[in-house]
Amino acid sequence: MATAEARVHGSPGAEAKSGGTYAGGIWSWITTVDHKRIGILYFVSSLAFFLIGGIEAMLIRLQLAGPENTLLSAQAYNQIFTMHGVTMLLFAVMPMSAAFFNFIVPLQIGARDVAFPRLNAFSYWLFLFGALFLNSSFFLGGAPDVGWFAYANLTSSQFSPGHGVDFYILGLALAGAGSIVAALNFIVTIINLRAPGMTFMRLPLFTWMTFVVSFLIILAFPPFTISTVFLLFDRMFGTLFFEPAGGGDPRLWQHLFWIFGHPEVYILILPAFGIISDVIPTFSRKPLFGYPVVVYSGVLIAFLGFGVWAHHMFSVGLGPVANSAFSGLTMLIAIPTGVKIFNWIATMWGGSLRFRTAMLFSIGLVAMFVIGGLSGVMHSSAPADLQQTDTYFVVAHFHYVLFGGSILGLFAGVYYWFPKVTGRFLNERLGAVHFWGMFLGLNLTFFPMHFAGLHGQPRRTFTYPAGLGFEGFNLVSTIGAVITFLAVLVFLVNLVRSLRTAATAGANPWEASTLEWSIGSPPPPHNFDHTPGVTSRDPLWHDGIAPPPPGEEEFHMPNPSFWPLVVAGGLLLIMAGALVGLPLVLFGVAVTLVGIYGWSFEPIH
């Protein structure tokens, strides 16, 4: 208490000059509860997993470059495409979104941290441990090879006797718990820690979408948790949940999985929508067109997202009534999504556009998401979907929305907020090379997949025979993947080089309108010397920050803590123990309990 307070009260702003926000050795990062540092931890980890997932993608594309290729065995291919999906969705895109939630949201609402700083560190460790645990399966008897959706009863102990599926269940239990805890934290933070005058209809769009996504996470993950618990019991204790011989129904898994899985795709895309809804107005020098409509559209997308899961199951045969209902609801989602597209275009219309790299990625998202959205509407129709399902057409569709949407949006955020996080600029020239390389690469990779799919090339198959007309499309896809990979390398070079430049960004290099740009870059540990009073939706454009009251403001910064790491470590031991033996489980329980009590009785300030 004494040290943190004294430092803050001694000379607010001094730390910013000395780079004190990130000062300290590795222990200070392990025990940190500062939302900015945790955001950076999330970013670095998610970038590493993005590269791992990217290498897996390269292996897939190299294997499929020509017919009858033997680079990967069928067994290895199944593991690689499963882990590519899981890694990209849950260990790359979600945590990179979480990196921005962490770093940016408290700044955008004028808060000094999240509502529960230690819980925030705990979420990070759970994500990291879950991701490492699942990836360790590559070296411990084989990764899961059942697809990221892990359909029953391929996952039964009869058909998947190895430990790959167990790693999937236990690793995702950790990472999923981390996501839920983080989402609970952000809901409370956004509702309760807004600066005076920061009403809901003045929240920046990125904060709004964080809020919406947090609700999706806390409501969508529990059904998945339950279905994996069922699966774990089926595999370990012989229950019959997905066992047809005992009266169980494998379709139960599909329902529970997609009740999670479909909201999950909005968990992946809405943060990107939020990012570009902040970036496009900044580089158009215009307020977001139709702010309330963009907000309501985001909420509506999330709401409808819970009612469309069975469009992943049209080929199961749920009957015409169910299929029609789910078709109709799926088509409805195109409306709020289309509304957002038009709002972004209208924001740019008549604006004084500056094509900085962040803006290029944002416009790229708008264009690419339209393509992915259109093919999405195509297979919302059940009869059309029956032709497309399980073919490369579907792979093309969801990569246009996930790569063309989420990934481009996240890179827009990286280029936009990098000066805020580090005080330095990413190189714009390399940024342009990165963008155009990625834009070209992703279109070369994924556009031919539409044709390959309509020609009948099946998904999740490790090779194809010559003479079916797939060769040309696949070769082009592989060339595109190589170009994309090179573009990512350009980004890494840019990242490393830029970190060595001088910190010249200043508080508001893009002349943006939201609160995070009102403070230094990087922000001081306590963010705001005075809690800002907000009087406008675009406070920095409209003189919308009330002058601070006289005198110094009382506040306490939370102490660092290692207990979140202890509790997360205990849970990791429990998961490992499920595969190793009961003693390790009990040891894990003991560590967890010690951690929880240490945490509960530790002074916060």
């Binding site: 309760n192 806390i218 409501l219 279905s227 069922f230 019991f233 204790f237 229950t239």
Partner: protein, 193 residues
Amino acid sequence: MERTSTSIPNEKMLMWTFIGSECMLFGSLIATFLVYRDQSIVGPYEEELLNIPFITVTTFVLLMSSLMMVLALSAVQRGDRRGSRLFLLLTAILGLIFLGGQFYEFSHFAHEGLGLSRNLFAGTFYLTTGFHGAHVAVGVIWLLTLWTLALRGRLGPEKSVTVEVAGLYWHFVDVVWIVLFTVIYLMSGATGA
């Protein structure tokens, strides 16, 4: 108390949002239980096993624990140290009695031949009520921790939000049981003991 935009304490709002998430957890369990009702292909079947009068008694015990929880919170808020200690302990004890009843029920069912992997009823019943029982157990540990604090005189009115949050959790777990009691027992077609 820190300033919050809504004047609602952060801890309390966290618990409410957590309860929202928990609804989906128990909702998935209950939905599965209903989908698999009467789908077991070997016995023993639920209508042969479920003992509604017995569970009615333990249900009543759990409901009374919620009453004790209300009294405990009220005592903490008033600064009534003796009442705080008494009612927190009573809440925990009634929760423990409920858990004892569940333990008796599980072992009785196992004795009757309902192993975990026996049929679909076994899996859905044990997991659904087991998940709930685990929540009760966590609640009991939490309450006993608060009781220990009360014994050491560290649970004054300034800590009432802590007790209120624990109470929210406890009442939620109780409400879930009302639903489980209705869905699993009252709707089972079992005729009684």
